[in-house]
C-alpha cells in the first residue's frame, strides 16, 4: 500500500479516474483564483497610509462597476466549464454498470462491514467481513445496506462515497485497473468507533480471485488437536452468540462471519494485522483496543485464550 492509502489525488480504478481530472481542474482553478485575489488585495492594501482616516477627504473616484463587470465575466468562464464538465462526469459515473461482472451486497454495521457474495444457488453464496475481494478489470456492482445507523462506503482510489442508509439500498460500483490492496473507510460519523471502521478491497487477477472464492465457499474444517477442540467448544459456548462459523452450529449474524477469519489480512475492521498475537489481544480485551466496540471483554483464562486462538487459526 502507498504511504497515503486514502489520498484521492491519484486513482487506480475507472470510476475514480473519470472524476480525477475534474478534481484537479477545480483545484487548480481555485488556487489560481485565490492567488489572483490575494495579489489584488495585497497590492491595493499596500497603498494604505498610516494616518487617521478623518484626515483624508472622502472622494468618489473611478468606475467601480467596471471592476464588478469584468470580475464577474471572468468568473463565468471556469464556472461554465465546471458546470458542463460536472454534468458530463456525473452522467459517466453515476449509473451502476448495466451488466456487472460481480454483484456484492455490503452492509454497514457499528463498526464493521458485512460483505455478501451472491451466487446462483445458496451453495454459491457466502459472507465475509471487512475484506472485499474483486477481480481486476471488471465492473463490480456494490449494493449498500444499512444495518443500524448511517455509514458511508468509500474506497478513495477506486470510488467516491456512497452512504449506507437503513431502509434503502444505495448503489456504488468499483473497477480496479491493477491488482492491489485498496483501503476503504467509513466516512459518515456513526458513533464512538467511527474512526476505526476501515476495510480493504483486494483486487487480484481472475484466477487468484476464483481460488479465493472457492476457498471461501468451503465450510470450516473440524478441529483436530485437543487445544483446537477445546477452543471450538469454547467458541460454541461464548462466541457463537454473535458470530457464525459455517459448518458448525454457530450461526448468529450479529457480528462478523468468522468462517475464514484466519485467511484475512486484518482484524478489527482493518485496524490490526491478523496474527495470533493481535487476535489474542483483541479477543482478550476488545474494549481496550477499541473502546465502545460492541464486542465485550471476554475475561478468559490464559489457557482458554490459547485454545480459542488455536481454533480460530484453523479457520483459513
Amino acid at each position: 500500500m502507498s504511504s497515503t492509502p486514502l489520498a484521492y489525488l491519484s486513482s487506480d480504478g475507472q470510476r475514480a479516474a473519470t472524476i480525477l481530472p475534474l478534481t484537479w481542474f477545480t483545484l487548480c482553478v481555485s488556487i489560481a483564483v485565490c492567488l489572483v485575489i490575494g495579489v489584488l488585495v495585497l497590492v491595493a492594501a499596500r497603498r494604505a497610509q498610516a494616518v487617521d482616516p478623518g484626515d483624508i477627504a472622502v472622494e468618489r473616484r473611478g468606475d467601480g462597476i467596471r471592476w464588478i463587470g469584468i470580475g464577474v465575466a471572468l468568473t463565468s468562464v471556469p464556472l461554465a466549464i465546471t458546470l458542463v464538465w460536472t454534468i458530463g462526469a456525473l452522467a459517466d459515473v453515476v449509473g451502476p454498470p448495466r451488466r456487472p461482472d460481480l454483484v456484492l451486497d455490503v452492509t454497514g454495521h457499528q463498526w464493521w462491514w458485512q460483505v455478501d457474495y451472491n451466487g446462483a444457488t445458496p451453495a454459491d453464496r457466502f459472507a465475509t467481513a471487512n475484506e472485499i475481494h474483486i477481480p481486476v478489470g471488471v465492473k463490480v456492482l456494490v449494493r449498500l445496506h444499512g444495518a443500524d445507523v448511517i455509514h458511508s462506503f468509500w474506497v478513495p482510489k477506486l470510488t467516491g462515497k456512497t452512504d449506507t442508509i437503513p431502509g434503502q439500498t444505495n448503489l456504488s460500483w468499483l473497477e480496479a485497473d491493477r491488482p492491489g490492496i485498496y483501503r476503504g473507510q467509513c466516512t459518515e460519523y456513526c458513533g464512538v468507533e467511527h474512526a476505526r471502521m476501515g476495510f480493504e478491497v483486494i483486487a487480484e487477477p481472475r484466477a487468484a480471485f476464483e481460488r479465493w472464492r472457492e476457498a471461501q465457499l468451503q465450510t470450516a474444517p473440524p478441529p483436530i488437536t485437543p487445544a483446537q477442540i477445546r477452543g471450538a467448544q469454547l467458541f460454541q459456548f461464548r462466541c457463537s452468540l454473535c458470530h457464525a462459523v459455517r459448518g458448525t452450529t454457530a450461526a448468529s449474524h450479529y457480528g462478523p462471519d468468522l468462517t475464514h477469519i484466519a485467511s484475512r489480512r486484518m482484524i478489527a475492521a482493518a485496524m490490526l494485522p491478523n496474527n495470533p498475537g493481535t487476535l489474542t489481544g483483541w479477543i482478550e480485551n476488545p474494549q481496550e483496543v477499541k473502546p465502545g466496540a460492541l464486542m465485550p471483554d471476554q475475561h478468559l483464562s490464559g489457557q482458554q485464550l490459547t485454545d480459542l486462538t488455536a481454533y480460530l487459526e484453523t479457520l483459513k
Partner: protein, 652 residues
C-alpha cells in the same frame, strides 16, 4: 371606542434642556430591577456580544482540546465518547451559540443608531430574545457539564441520534435546547424585520440603508422561513426518543433521510444567515477606511438578497452521497455553482473599493481587507464541493473541515473582530489600542492560515472528519501537528483581542463622536450614545449623511440638529417601509422584567420536558402563562395621547 388620537410631532432643536428631559424618560432605572428589566437595545446588544464572546472562548477551548488529541496519531487524551461530545459541542457552540448571536448583538446595538431611531420595534421582545438565548446556552451547556453534551455532531444525523443507539440524555439536551434556542432566533428575526421596515428615520428610503442592515434583514427573513424546519426536526426526534414515534426510523415506516432534508433545508440558509450580516459589516466598514463610498451599493445589496434566495435551493449539496437520483443531484450542483455569482459581485465590489479609494492602515482595515481573501478561499473550496462527482471524494474529509472554518472564521470571526475595533469607540467612548491591535491581527491571521490552509491537504490525503484518532501510517501526522500549532497561535491571537478589549475598556484613549470619519448616523451621536440615541430624530437626505459636505453630490443635507423631538414619554417614530415617510408616533414600553420571568418559566418547562416530569412541566407551563399575562396586561400609559389629551386634527 378608540382612544387613539392624532398628533403632529413638534420640530425642535437639539438643546441641553431637551437632552435632560429625554434622559429622564429613557434611562434604565438603576438597581437589580432595572438590570433584569432593561429594554435598552444598546444594553441588550452589549449583553449579546459579551455572552457570545464568552461562548466563543468556550468553543475555542474545546477546539484546542480536540487539536491536542489530533496532534499526533493514536493519542488518548480523550476517550472516544469524550471526543465525540467535544467535537459535537464545539460545532454546536460555534455555529449556533456564537456565530449567529454575536451578529444579533451587533445588530441589536447598532440598528437603531444606524437607522436613526430610538429603539428596536419591539423592545421587550428584544430583551426576551436575549434572555432565551442565555437560557439556551445554560440549558445546552448544563448537559455538557454533566457529561451529556451532544455526541452526534452539530448536524446530528439519525438514526444514530435515536434512543436505540444513543440512550443517554445527550440527545435530549440537544433536541430540547435547539428548540429553545429557535424561539430566541425567531423572536429576534421578527423584531429585526419590523425594525428595518418601520423604524427608519424619515428620509432613509430603502436604498439608503447600510449594507449591514440588508445583511441582517435578509438573514432574518431566512431564519423566519427555515428555523421552523429545524425546530420541527428536533421536536420529532424528541418524540421518537421519548414516545416511540418513528418519524426517522424505518421500523415504523419513517425515513432517516427525512432528518437530513429538514436539517439542511434549515442548515444551508443558516450558514448564509451567519455570514451575510458579517459581510455587511465589511461592506459598511471597509469604505470608511478607503475614504470613498462602497462601489456598487445597489449590486451588493441585491447580491445579499440573491445569495439567500439561491441559498434556499442548495441544501441537497450536503447530501450528494446519500444515493439521490443523478438528475436531482445535477440541479442542486448547478444551483450551488451559480451561487458563486452574487459572491463574486460582492468580492469585486470590495476590491474595487480599496483600489479606487485612499486606504488607511488601521486595525479594522486589516481585518476587513484580509477577510476578502479568506472569503475567497472558503468560497472556492465550496465551489469544488458543489461539483457532485468531486464532492463524492471531498465530502466528509478534512477538506470540508477546512472549508467550513474558512467560511466561519474567515467570514464571521474576522469581520466581527474588525467590527469590534470599528465600533468599540462608539460603544464605550474609548479607542482600542492600535499597537496591540496590529499584534492581534497578525497573530490571528498567521495562526489561522497556518492551522487551516494545510488542512485542505489533510483532506485531499483522505483524512475523514469526526475521527477521534488516526493510524500513524496514513500520511496525516505532520499536517495535523502543523494544524495544532496553528490553532494555538490563532487562539493566542483571539486572547490578545480579549486583552485589548479589557484594557481599552478601562483605560483606552477617549474617542470623539466620530473617530474614524464614518458616514452613517451612529457617528453623529455621542460615544457612548445617550439612552435615547438621538436628541432629535434625524431627517436623512442621502446614503452617506455625514459625508454630504465632502461628496457634494446634491444640495440636500441631512438634518441632524433639528428634527422631531418626540419627548412626550418613550416615543419613537414609525415610517413607511420603502420611502421612510413618517406615519405614526409609537409609545415604547418601560423597563419590564416579564421577559426575564417568562424565560425562567420556560427553562423550568424545558428541564421538565427533559426529565419527562409532568409536575415540573406543569409548574413551568403555569409560570409561562403568568409571565405572559404580566407582559401583555394592558397599560394605560402605552396609549398614544396628545399633550393634555387634546385631539389634534393632523395625521402625521
Amino acid at each position: 371606542m378608540r382612544e387613539a388620537v392624532f398628533r403632529t410631532p413638534e420640530i425642535g432643536d437639539d438643546t441641553d434642556v431637551l437632552r435632560a428631559r429625554l434622559h429622564a424618560i429613557w434611562e434604565t432605572e438603576p438597581g437589580i430591577r432595572g438590570w433584569f428589566g432593561t429594554v435598552d437595545h444598546k444594553e441588550i446588544g452589549i449583553r449579546y456580544i459579551i455572552t457570545a464572546f464568552i461562548v466563543l472562548a468556550l468553543g475555542g477551548i474545546e477546539a484546542l482540546v480536540i487539536r491536542l488529541q489530533l496532534a499526533g496519531p493514536n493519542l488518548h487524551l480523550l476517550t472516544p465518547e469524550q471526543y465525540d461530545e467535544f467535537f459535537s459541542t464545539h460545532g454546536m457552540t460555534m455555529i449556533f451559540l456564537y456565530a449567529s448571536p454575536i451578529l444579533s448583538g451587533f445588530s441589536n446595538y447598532l440598528w437603531p443608531l444606524l437607522l436613526g431611531g430610538r429603539d428596536m420595534a419591539f423592545p421587550r421582545m428584544n430583551a426576551f430574545s436575549y434572555w432565551v438565548y442565555l437560557g439556551a446556552v445554560i440549558f445546552l451547556y448544563s448537559g455538557f457539564l454533566i457529561g451529556a453534551g451532544p455526541n452526534d455532531g452539530w448536524f446530528n444525523y439519525v438514526p444514530y441520534a435515536e434512543k436505540a443507539y444513543n440512550p443517554g440524555f445527550n440527545e435530549d439536551f440537544y433536541s430540547l435546547g435547539m428548540i429553545f434556542l429557535g424561539i430566541s432566533t425567531t423572536v429576534g428575526a421578527a423584531n429585526f424585520i419590523v425594525t428595518a421596515f418601520k423604524t427608519r428615520a424619515p428620509g432613509m428610503s430603502i436604498n439608503r440603508i447600510p449594507i449591514m442592515v440588508w445583511g441582517t434583514l435578509t438573514a432574518s427573513v431566512a431564519n423566519l422561513v427555515v428555523v421552523p424546519a429545524v425546530s420541527l426536526a428536533f421536536f420529532l426526534l424528541w418524540m421518537d426518543r421519548q414516545f416511540g414515534t418513528d418519524f426517522f426510523q424505518t421500523r415504523g415506516g419513517g425515513q432517516p433521510l427525512l432528518w437530513q432534508h429538514l436539517f439542511w433545508i434549515f442548515g444551508h440558509p443558516w450558514v448564509y444567515a451567519i455570514v451575510l450580516p458579517a459581510m455587511g459589516m465589511v461592506s459598511d466598514g471597509l469604505p470608511v477606511f478607503c475614504r470613498r463610498p462602497l462601489v456598487g451599493y445597489a449590486l451588493v445589496a441585491l447580491a445579499t438578497v440573491s445569495v439567500m434566495i439561491l441559498g434556499f435551493g442548495v441544501w441537497v449539496h450536503h447530501m450528494f452521497a446519500t444515493g439521490l437520483p443523478g438528475l436531482s443531484l445535477s440541479f442542486f450542483s448547478g444551483a450551488s455553482i451559480v451561487i458563486t455569482y452574487p459572491s463574486a459581485v460582492t468580492v469585486f465590489a470590495w476590491i474595487a473599493t480599496i483600489w479606487l479609494g485612499k486606504p488607511v492602515l488601521k486595525t479594522p482595515f486589516l481585518f476587513f481587507s484580509s477577510m476578502i481573501l479568506l472569503f475567497v478561499i472558503g468560497g472556492v473550496s465550496g465551489f469544488m464541493t458543489a461539483s457532485v462527482p468531486v464532492d463524492w471524494q471531498l465530502t466528509d474529509t478534512y477538506f470540508v473541515v477546512a472549508h467550513i472554518h474558512y467560511v466561519l472564521i474567515g467570514i464571521n470571526v474576522f469581520p466581527v473582530v474588525g467590527a469590534s475595533y470599528f465600533w468599540f469607540p462608539k460603544m464605550t467612548g474609548r479607542m482600542m489600542d492600535e499597537r496591540l491591535g496590529r499584534w492581534n491581527f497578525w497573530t490571528m491571521f498567521l495562526g489561522f492560515n497556518l492551522g487551516f490552509l494545510p488542512m485542505h491537504l489533510t483532506g485531499l490525503l483522505g483524512m475523514p472528519r469526526r475521527v477521534y484518532t488516526y493510524p500513524a501510517h496514513m500520511g496525516w501526522s505532520a499536517l495535523n501537528m502543523i494544524t495544532t500549532i496553528g490553532s494555538f497561535v490563532f487562539a493566542i491571537g483571539v486572547l490578545l483581542f480579549f486583552i485589548n478589549v479589557w484594557k481599552s475598556w478601562r483605560s483606552g484613549a477617549p474617542a470623539g463622536d466620530n473617530p474614524w470619519g464614518g458616514s452613517s448616523l451612529e457617528w453623529s451621536t455621542t460615544s457612548p450614545p445617550p439612552p435615547y440615541n438621538f436628541a432629535v430624530i434625524p431627517t436623512v437626505a442621502s446614503r452617506h449623511p455625514l459625508w454630504e459636505d465632502q461628496l457634494q453630490e446634491s444640495e440636500a443635507r441631512t438634518s441632524l440638529r433639528r428634527g422631531m423631538v418626540l419627548d412626550d414619554g418613550k416615543e419613537t417614530l414609525h415610517t413607511s417601509p420603502v420611502d421612510a415617510v413618517p406615519e405614526r408616533i409609537v409609545k415604547g414600553p418601560e423597563d419590564n422584567t416579564a421577559p426575564f420571568q417568562l424565560t425562567v418559566a420556560m427553562m423550568v418547562l424545558f428541564y421538565g420536558m427533559l426529565l419527562k416530569n409532568w409536575w415540573v412541566i406543569g409548574v413551568g407551563a403555569i409560570g409561562c402563562l403568568v409571565s405572559l399575562l404580566l407582559w401583555l396586561w394592558p397599560r394605560r400609559e402605552m396609549l398614544e395621547r396628545a399633550p393634555g389629551d387634546r385631539p389634534e386634527p393632523a395625521h402625521v
